[in-house]
């Protein structure tokens, strides 16, 4: 069965700086993201993984090229239209979590939910379901980010990211600031969301995180250097692990 393309980026260009200090991140990059895929973008530090992901999600504008998100060229949208686009189509999970401090977990989620839903009770009910899904107990919902563990905070961040049922969930090194136990719990949430059909694009340089994806893209020298189809995630699947190891070895990681 042919996969449905949700994002199609063509001839993307991006550079930082000017004149002699210009740093070209990519000059003619083409990439498609498919619906229902858990796409993992890997690459060495400074390869432009996050930059690419933020371009694809409308967080950052490329210097050139086109990005069709469900048929709409988002590079043509102004800032306000991009904001409205993001609230409907995208969910974001960041490495540093960035929950709004002094706002409790429930309110953090509601702050995102009210952008698309008119009924606060509906948002609350959905938030409760999602909190249960990510294993955050009810007695934690009214706590602020400083009163809970990093893992709980990141899982709350995921709830905030998916409260509006985004078309694509983007995650930038979501376990980068977490210890091993918390990382596992967070990755489990991503896996369960993926299993429910959520399209996910995740940037990581962590092999354990990458194993959760079914499609691995490796960025090098401003291009898609290689791609690997790992298939659906299964716990303790040695074959997939070996396949990923082989792939990244080939990529020169």
């Amino acid at each position: 069965m042919d996969k449905q393309t949700v994002i199609s980026a063509k001839h993307l260009k991006k550079a930082f700086g000017k004149g002699e200090s210009i740093q070209v991140i990519y000059s003619d990059l083409n990439i498609d993201i498919y619906k229902g895929d858990f796409t993992v973008i890997m690459g060495s530090s400074g390869a432009g993984k996050s930059t690419l992901m933020y371009s694809l999600s409308g967080m950052d504008k490329p210097d050139g090229g086109e990005i069709f998100f469900d048929g709409t060229d988002i590079t043509k949208l102004n800032n306000d239209k991009l904001a409205v686009f993001r609230r409907k189509e995208c969910g974001f999970v960041f490495q540093q979590i960035y929950l709004i401090d002094k706002m409790n977990l429930m309110d953090n989620v509601i702050a995102a939910g009210v952008l698309t839903s008119k009924d606060k009770e509906d948002i609350k009910n959905r938030a409760k379901e999602l909190f249960s899904l990510v294993n955050i107990p009810e007695n934690t919902w009214k706590k602020t980010s400083s009163q809970i563990s990093g893992g709980e905070a990141q899982r709350a961040g995921i709830v905030r990211a998916v409260i509006n049922s985004p078309n694509v969930l983007f995650a930038d090194e979501p376990t980068g600031a977490l210890n091993s136990a918390n990382s596992g719990a967070v990755l489990d949430v991503f896996t369960s969301l993926h299993k429910e059909g959520q399209s996910i694009v995740m940037v990581t340089h962590d092999k354990k995180s990458a194993l959760r994806g079914n499609r691995i893209i490796y960025i090098k020298d401003g291009k898609i250097y290689g791609e690997c189809d790992l298939g659906a995630f299964e716990q303790d699947d040695a074959e997939r692990t070996e396949k990923l190891d082989q792939f990244i070895k080939e990529m020169g990681w």
């Binding site: 933020y54 967080m59 950052d60 800032n79 995208c90 974001f92 960035y98 702050a111 990211a161």
Partner: protein, 744 residues
């Protein structure tokens, strides 16, 4: 709305202290502006209402009754624009009011028959005591400022003869209700008046009171009246009109409104800079969170709205509280104003003032907070998350500089006021008065030479000169003439342009008529039936007579009036009372009467010292409050932004005391530089401020000294206070621990 309410509440909740400090500023601003506006709207309206209620005349003029002519009434009625004329009788004389605010006070007074039937210039008796056969009713001004009360007594000294009356009551009237116009009223029951008028039959006057049509011009009307009287050879003793009276009686109110509005403007500017700084630091501090908000779909407008909204909410609540509080003090303020205005009213709630205060403050807050938050528009979400703003400055130093400069302007003004009223009171008194002698002696007829010989040989006397204040007339009305044997001997130069008269054909005129008579032109002055032309040599000021004054040399006055027989005596020491007693006992054949002017000046000075002290204390409190609140916002923001840095300092061994002092000291260079620059600039701006304020009350030239040392002392004190407050406010640094950083 729902989209921003969550964020708005969150913003309010996370920086309660900052919003409270902002609210205090806005509350204070609303408080002051509302007082100014309610006074502006209601004092003048209250005056107008009273004017209508008492059917006050638009123009009143008085002439000697002996010169009144049968056809004058018809002629005045025939003047174009005059709708109604009424004639009354009175007695116009110069009196010395004994124990006026504890001293003797010379006042031109018109005494009327209170029981006379009249339709114009009615009186409203507000307080009365039991009638007696020797009663006088006095204007409220005499009670509020002079200290006379119903049931008490009042003594008028006329040509050395004492008349003591029982104060039958206090009344409101619109003609001579305060001494700003140089005239005051007195009202006798019919029987008392008849006796008085008989005794002073030479001073009996006829007063013409005119109602004019709304389109008629008061100035032209007064000129026409003067012309009619001149043609008929009738002396015009005094003429007053509706507008001048109103301006005079509401002078202090106008002054207060100007000062209040200026003060409110300074506080508002500080609050705006404060909110600007707070918003800029909030953007800086919460950059990543703003980036996340943008990432999850908040538009810039929503984020800006949630940033501006708390300021609007706090602004509205604080404004309403400030306005409500102002109504608690407005009755007291109106009471203080009654001392000078001579009429009282009770301020009531003013919806127009509320609307203006609310709209002004809300527009200012909305505009400036929106402009400050406008930076959010330019934030790219990804850059914000990565902590890149492109502008690292939060404007802390700019804010601190402007606030310090502004507060120093307040302190410099207050300090200069204090210096010139308390340390060098003559500067202040000379601005408000003419000559300030120790004693004024009036010699018996033909005894002036003997009196001067006595004074010449008295070692206690520093200076003496023949000097008198006498009424003269010119074509448009009356003037108080200061007659002096030699103005070069005068101790207070009240001439602000040109020079005082030197020859007998010269005159210097007051600012009330300076527009009509340029320097070098001629003016005809009259006393009784004697007139002479004088060349205008300069302009003089007089706060007490609303500028309706002139200066004549002794010889110049002799051309139209009698020989003056009073002498200003200036003593080396403050021994006026003993000096007068001795002269009255030993030279009673030479001294006709005496005035302890030293006592009068001291009483006047005491009154002004009291008012100035209140103003200075208010300015000091507001200044300290502003420093406190601004430093609170700055230090709080700094501690929050540099929390990690303080933790590291602690980890490497800095003590709390070292960090507190280091933080407090980091503000001092800007505060000190701003204070010193403001102190130096004060040498230019303070005279300008003083000129504006004193011009409003008729003192075109003021004698205020701006002491650079006082300014520097205040700059030093301000810097020290700012440092102390900073040390106290930096205390929360103690709560930051190196360990907490690890947890963060």
């Amino acid at each position: 709305m729902k989209k921003i309410s969550t964020l708005t509440l969150h913003n309010l909740n996370k920086a309660k202290g900052q919003y409270i400090s902002f609210g205090v500023f806005i509350c204070l601003t609303a408080f002051i502006i509302n007082i100014a506006l309610v006074l502006a709207f209601q004092t003048f309206n209250a005056y107008d209402s009273l004017f209508e209620k008492l059917s006050a005349a638009d123009i009143n003029f008085i002439i000697p009754q002996i010169q009144d002519q049968e056809d004058l009434l018809t002629e005045v009625e025939g003047i174009d624009g005059v709708s109604f004329v009424e004639k009354h009788e009175g007695v116009f004389t110069s009196v010395t009011v004994r124990e006026f605010a504890g001293s003797d006070f010379d006042m031109n007074t018109v005494f009327y028959n209170l029981d006379e039937e009249r339709t114009l210039n009615l009186r409203d008796i507000t307080e009365s005591s039991e009638m007696s056969d020797n009663s006088v009713y006095i204007p409220m001004y005499m009670k509020e400022l002079g200290g006379f009360a119903e049931g008490g007594s009042i003594t008028y000294s006329i040509d050395g003869e004492e008349h003591t009356y029982h104060v039958g009551g206090i009344l409101l009237e619109m003609q001579y209700g305060n001494y700003g116009t140089g005239m005051i009223g007195g009202y006798f029951p019919e029987a008392v008046y008849e006796d008085f008028a008989q005794e002073y039959s030479d001073h009996v006057i006829t007063e013409y009171s005119l109602k004019i049509s709304s389109t008629a011009d008061l100035g032209e009307m007064k000129n026409t009246i003067s012309e009619v009287l001149r043609e008929k050879g009738i002396a015009l003793l005094n003429i007053n009109d509706r507008d001048t009276s109103k301006q005079t009686r509401t002078m202090v109110c106008t002054l207060l409104i100007v000062i209040f509005l200026a003060l409110a403007a300074i506080i508002l500017v500080v609050s705006i800079f404060l909110s600007n700084f707070r918003i800029r630091s909030a953007i800086e501090d919460e950059l990543a969170q703003m980036g996340v908000l943008k990432a999850i779909g908040y538009t810039s407008s929503l984020i800006i709205a949630s940033t501006v909204m708390p300021y609007m909410l706090v602004g509205i609540i604080s404004t309403v509280i400030g306005i409500a509080l102002s109504y608690a003090v407005l009755p007291s303020v109106a009471g203080i104003l009654a001392i000078q205005s001579g009429f009282s009213y009770t301020p009531v709630f003013d919806s127009m003032a509320l609307l203006i205060v609310l709209l002004t403050l809300m527009c200012a807050i909305l505009l400036f907070s929106y402009l400050s938050a406008g930076k959010i528009h330019k934030l790219e979400p990804i850059n914000a998350i990565r902590g890149i703003t492109g502008d690292e400055s939060t404007g802390q130093n700019v804010l601190l500089f402007i606030v310090s400069f502004g507060i120093m302007v307040l302190l410099s003004f207050a300090g200069t006021l204090l210096y010139n009223v308390n340390v060098k009171p003559d500067n202040f008194m000379n601005t408000l008065s003419e000559e300030l002698p120790s004693v004024i002696f009036t010699a018996e007829d033909g005894k002036m030479t003997e009196l001067k010989e006595l004074l010449e040989n008295d070692s206690r006397v520093r200076l003496f000169m023949e000097y008198a204040s006498v009424p003269v007339s010119y074509e448009d009305g009356s003037l108080t003439a200061f007659v002096c044997e030699d103005f070069s001997k005068a101790t207070n130069d009240i001439c602000y342009e040109g020079h005082s008269p030197v020859n007998d054909n010269e005159v210097a005129i007051g600012n009330a008529i300076s527009d009509k008579y340029p320097i070098g032109s001629n003016i005809e002055l009259t006393v009784g039936d004697q007139s002479a032309d004088y060349i205008v040599t300069g302009y003089i000021q007089s706060v007490n007579n609303a500028g309706a004054v002139c200066q004549l040399t002794r010889e110049g006055y002799k051309k139209i009036g009698e020989t003056i027989n009073s002498v200003n005596v200036y003593l080396y020491e403050k021994t006026a009372e003993a000096f007068i007693t001795e002269y009255e006992e030993n030279h009673d054949t030479i001294i006709k009467s005496s005035v302890n002017f030293e006592q009068m000046s001291e009483n006047g000075q005491m009154m002004y010292t009291g008012i100035v002290s209140v103003i200075v204390v208010i300015l000091f409190i507001i200044s300290v409050l502003m420093v406190l609140l601004v430093m609170y916002v700055l230090i709080n923001s700094m501690i929050s932004r540099r929390r990690q840095e303080f933790g590291i300092y602690k980890a490497i061994g800095y003590t709390n005391r070292q960090l507190t002092v280091k933080t407090a000291l980091s503000f001092i260079p800007v505060v000190a530089v701003a204070s010193i620059i403001s102190a130096i600039a004060g040498l230019w701006y303070l005279p300008a401020i003083n000129n504006v304020i004193f011009s409003l009350i008729g003192a075109i030239k003021n004698h205020f000294e701006v002491s650079v040392w006082i300014l520097f002392v205040f700059a030093g004190m301000f810097t020290a206070v700012a440092f102390t407050i900073s040390v106290l406010l930096s205390a929360p640094i103690k709560r930051i621990t190196a360990y907490s950083l690890l947890k963060d």
